[in-house]
């Protein structure tokens, strides 16, 4: 990897304006925490940064790892299923006509309904969480990928076909590289979606994971713990997005 390339890789940027706005928020929060009792607000509702820092220090890494594993595992399964189905629907008009309406219906179902279905249908906690994540994220991958395939310029498709590729070559040499930018966008959208959905799914029945810890914090009326776990979730989201952005930058170097 060249020096120029390393320097141009996007990492979590932290411009001065962001730092200032975060600092202002932190000061305002601390002030509010200090003034809370005199304003009639219970002290536990707005914990000080010291309390929050103590909660962060007590974060159990295993719960972070479990949630992360669930998110990444489900995203990979969703992506593979979405891509495979999108390719089949692109190839077969009949399949497209039958499957697409169902996919649109799946996308319209609220996450909470999926969680309730999962609880009623499946005994295993891990399967429940996986099911909810896949059924929410899979259709997004499918629709994005299918749209991207349909948007591959007709000119490029006829050029490729004029050289008489096999079906596999057609997909590997043209369609797949052509849809890579959309796949990355879809991953970014789905990471954010999955982080939010996994938390809700873990609230129901899970005994590990960040969602479960949030549920415990709520039972203990510990706002500082909720705050700490939320910070972890946001950090996790930014880290995953940064990772995808890094891979994207590397694979799509031809665009720069």
């Amino acid at each position: 990897m060249s020096q120029e390339y390393r320097e141009s890789v996007p990492v979590l940027s932290f411009p001065r304006q962001t730092f200032v706005s975060l600092l202002v928020f932190a000061i305002a929060w601390e002030a509010l925490s200090y003034l809370a009792p005199s304003l009639g607000i219970p002290p536990f509702a707005i914990p000080s940064w010291v309390r929050i820092a103590k909660s962060i220090a007590n974060i159990t890494p295993i719960d972070v790892v479990v949630t992360l594993a669930r998110v990444i595992g489900a995203l990979i399964v969703s992506f593979v299923l979405g891509l495979a189905l999108a390719m089949a629907m692109y190839r077969s008009d009949a399949m497209d006509k039958y499957v697409y309406p169902m996919v649109r219906i799946l996308m319209a179902v609220p996450v909470v309904s999926w969680i309730l279905f999962a609880v009623l249908w499946f005994p295993g906690v891990e399967f429940r969480i996986g099911f909810v994540l896949v059924v929410v994220c899979g259709p997004v991958f499918l629709v994005d990928t299918l749209d991207a395939m349909r948007n591959v310029p007709r000119e490029l498709r006829s050029m490729m076909r004029s050289f008489r590729p096999t079906t596999l070559q057609f997909f590997l040499k043209l369609m797949l590289p052509a849809i890579v930018p959309t796949i990355f966008t879809s991953w970014k959208v789905n990471i954010s979606l999955a982080i939010r959905v996994v938390t809700i799914a873990e609230l129901v029945g899970a005994v590990t994971g960040i969602g479960h810890q949030l549920s415990v914090a709520q039972e203990l009326f510990s706002v500082s713990d909720v705050f700490a776990w939320t910070i972890v979730l946001v950090a996790l989201l930014f880290m995953l997005e940064a990772l995808v952005a890094r891979i994207e930058h590397r694979l799509l170097r031809w665009r720069t």
Partner: protein, 264 residues
């Protein structure tokens, strides 16, 4: 049935008809109406006609992307549509726009058809580099399409076509979108390389100067690809090219052969 062709074959078009149904109105459109045409091996033929006369449909049918409604195109004893795979590595195309894959370098674009043919990596590289060098792109083999000018991109597209070492070369308005100087320069290079390679070349164009400059023959298409004139350019002295141009223009305007073309 033969599986190989020894040298460029004769291309025979007989009673070719192509009818499309318009998606919006459902009406039938006759794009090509009973075309007969024979193209001899190693011949360079230019097909001229006004926009919408069926040239590009004929081009797509020559490639094998569209089936005939009636009649046939036979290249040797094979149909480019029915025997689609047979023509892998035997036919190459240059399109109106370069149609390069933006994520591939010039070299990788030029060797794309060789990859599809399953040629060894070393051969792919060597052949693609040879043609890129011939087309003056030695210093740009690693450049991506967006880093190249329009003329350079079209050179890569030409290199991609010649790298196949095809027996049949098809070009659809390949130089029409370039500026006049670049187009003339590239057209001359293309013609020189086509002659050297010994391929049969079919060039579709709407520019009469280009057709006269390039073709051994000029097929003038009227509406629905009706063959209005089949001109052997060799029968015209260079000093008569102005008259020839006028006669073709009149033929296209009136949709009937100009009497001055009768010498064919």
């Amino acid at each position: 049935m033969n599986t190989t062709m020894s040298g460029p074959p004769t291309i025979e078009v007989r009673g070719l008809r192509k009818v499309f149904r318009q998606a919006t109105s459902g009406q039938q459109v006759v794009a090509i109406d009973r075309l007969d045409l024979t193209i001899q091996p190693k011949e360079v033929i230019a097909i001229v006609g006004q926009t919408g006369c069926g040239k590009s449909t004929f081009f797509d049918m020559m490639i094998g992307l569209e089936p005939p409604t009636e009649g046939y195109i036979h290249i040797g004893d094979k149909s480019p549509y029915a025997d689609f795979d047979f023509f892998r590595g035997k036919m190459a195309t240059v399109f109106q726009q370069d149609r390069l894959l933006p994520w591939r370098s010039a070299l990788d674009n030029a060797r794309l058809p060789l990859e599809l043919m399953g040629r060894p990596e070393e051969e792919q590289r060597e052949r693609a580099l040879t043609w890129l060098n011939k087309l003056g792109l030695t210093n740009f083999v690693n450049a991506y399409p967006h880093e190249l000018s329009g003329g350079m991109r079209q050179r890569v597209a030409i290199a991609r076509a010649f790298a196949v070492q095809p027996e049949i070369l098809l070009a659809d308005e390949a130089f029409g979108h370039l500026d006049e100087v670049t187009a003339a320069e590239l057209r001359d290079t293309f013609l020189k390389l086509a002659r050297e390679s010994g391929a049969t070349a079919v060039l579709i164009t709407h520019q009469l100067e280009e057709a006269i400059a390039v073709g051994d023959r000029i097929a003038v298409f009227g509406k629905s690809a009706k063959l209005l004139a089949d001109i052997h350019v060799a029968k015209w002295a260079e000093s008569e090219y102005g008259t020839l141009r006028e006669a073709i223009q009149t033929t296209l305007q009136t949709q009937s052969p100009d009497p001055r073309l009768a010498r064919n």
